[in-house]
Symmetry: C2
Subunit: 363 residues, 2 copies
């Protein structure tokens, strides 16, 4: 999407030099920096240390990491070792394993001398596929927003609440939850987005930066505000992303999503989850019981990263040093609280039957 009137993807390949660039998202929203990543170690660091984040972008970054490793050494050993190194970077993202398996399974049957160019072509293809999937998610979600807009008094904005950053920064372009929003804005609909701060990592600041950079009206609020906003009729629809959706439609997403789904149900606000079909985990049925939740380090909660009075990125510690800290990174929203899943094939009920019908070829 746009940054300063120029179009960017979150990861891109320079065909002439073969270089791969990313936006180093650690400095957003305070500084917009792009960086070339090249070695396996750099790719692993970029994923582990969250220079890049978001399931789809992690998948494509891992694919490029594998392609770069294969360019250096196309052997089976190299491919398997790249798989291990990249897979170990983040435990919850199913996209990571999916992307790495796809690369490995594609390359292994071929002679070593063909693998590098095959790997590059597949990485490009996977990035483009992701963009196309998210474009379709946007088209499908646009219809929902359009219906709400038609039902509202002329001129009044459609108020959309989102949590975390399921934006183009977390994908390659468009984003998942933001794609319907960008499509609606680009189509001339009057949309306004409530952006959850999303503690502890404040990904809402990224969403606010994205939306602001593209010109979409929005308001940044703490995670606790959404219930009050819904109680007062200030939210027309909730759209969030997901890291993993079960075959029964349970949705694993950033910690706090479940609380917004409860508030949406309590106030009859439609609650939608935008997802590309590869994030459906067909092996898992009951999300709360079966999905392990990543417990991240306490320093994310203890320390707040931001811009200090001198304009430098720095941290402040908030709670007492000797207080223990808990940091579950995700939660599971049961399917019963989800109005619908916005996928690249269309909007589907969050149930096993409906998902199996739409994805009979994948399940």
């Amino acid at each position: 999407m746009k940054v300063g009137n120029q179009h960017f993807r979150s990861i891109w390949h320079d065909a002439a030099s073969g270089a791969v660039f990313i936006i180093d998202q650690r400095w957003l929203p305070h500084r917009f920096e792009t960086v070339e990543i090249d070695t396996l170690d750099e790719f692993a660091t970029a994923i582990r240390e969250m220079w890049v984040r978001g399931a789809p972008l992690i998948g494509v970054t891992a694919a490029w990491g594998m392609a770069k490793a294969v360019a250096r050494d196309p052997s089976d050993t190299s491919i398997n070792s790249a798989w291990e190194v990249l897979h170990a970077t983040r435990p919850t993202a199913i996209n990571l394993a999916w992307a790495l398996n796809r690369m490995r399974d594609h390359l292994i049957p071929h002679p070593v001398e063909e693998r590098s160019s095959l790997a590059t072509r597949l990485a490009i293809e996977m990035a483009d596929e992701d963009v196309e999937i998210n474009r379709q998610i946007g088209e499908n979600g646009l219809q929902l927003i359009r219906e709400i807009a038609f039902a509202k008094p002329e001129g009044s904005a459609v108020n959309i609440l989102t949590h975390c950053n399921a934006g183009w920064l977390a994908a390659v372009d468009w984003g998942t939850a933001t794609s319907p929003i960008y499509h609606a804005h680009n189509a001339g609909l009057n949309v306004h987005v409530w952006v959850d701060e999303t503690r502890p990592r404040n990904q809402g600041a990224l969403t606010a930066w994205e939306l602001g950079s593209h010109g979409v009206p929005h308001t940044y609020v703490v995670d606790s505000a959404g219930g009050h906003l819904m109680q007062n009729g200030e939210v027309d629809i909730v759209i969030v992303g997901t890291d993993r959706t079960t075959r029964c439609g349970d949705v694993c997403n950033k910690i706090g999503t479940y609380l917004k789904a409860l508030a949406a149900q309590d106030n009859r606000v439609p609650f939608y989850v935008a997802l590309p079909s590869p994030t459906i985990d067909w092996k898992v049925s009951e999300g709360v019981k079966e999905i392990p939740i990543e417990q991240r380090g306490g320093s994310e909660v203890r320390r707040q990263l931001g811009r200090n009075i001198d304009g430098e990125i720095s941290e402040v510690a908030v709670p007492p040093d000797d207080s223990p800290v808990g940091n579950p990174a995700f939660d599971v929203t049961p399917a019963r609280l989800v109005t619908g899943l916005i996928t690249e094939r269309g909007v589907v009920q969050p149930s096993e039957a409906a998902l199996l019908e739409m994805y009979s070829d994948l399940a």
Copy 2:
């Protein structure tokens, strides 16, 4: 409660010297500093600049400010002028006017030569009354925690979740929501507290400091974590405070309380609200419709206050400067989501009938 094995109140009077001391809460949880306040100007500054905070503590501090002014000059003019100066510090705090009126109405009918000792006695009495009310809330809440403890396997902790700081730092001692917790801990029960960070002002850091100083096991978590914890059986009871409760039992409290109440209901976790009866607003029935919610400045959301790497208290800015920010400070939890109200007279159902029965003398 205890700080470093010594018992403190948030405001106290040295009977021998007549000096009044407070904890300068601006530096908590990073530094524990006590300070003597003596002149009317010092009392006004302490309230205005939030060296002290929390409705009950503000009231008692104002009473002491009046007593100190009367000790210097017991005339009607002095009393009225102290009333004006102290009342202007936080003009919206209802407890402030209540405490100042009570002092003035008590003193004015008496001869000037008796006023100073009367004022001192009343300030002591008002502080002790607050402590006694909160002690009774604690005794009543203790029974609930004891029942949960008895029903759990021996040795396992009772997990209590709380939001914001309804602790002794906001009262004179014990606190409201924390009083049952301190009572349970002092009685030898094994309790563990999930402390919500409570964005945007991070009052959870104060609660964590309080609990840690008194030796109560606790874990600091972001506001979004509570739903996940409840889904996984890690919360046995929620206890929060309130700024205002309606005659029908709707509870207005710090933004985000409503989301925790929804999660508690969804997971059959009992949700209790601890309150002194003066915070029941008998003129209001339906909280969501009738209670106006304060919209505070955006800088609280934009900036995070904490201790920087040099140990200094400083701020960092998190979202983009040009993103608009919303900051509703409270929300309303409908009575249907509240299991019970823990008051100084006992635990009561959140309904008009039950409240009128217990408080027939006040309603």
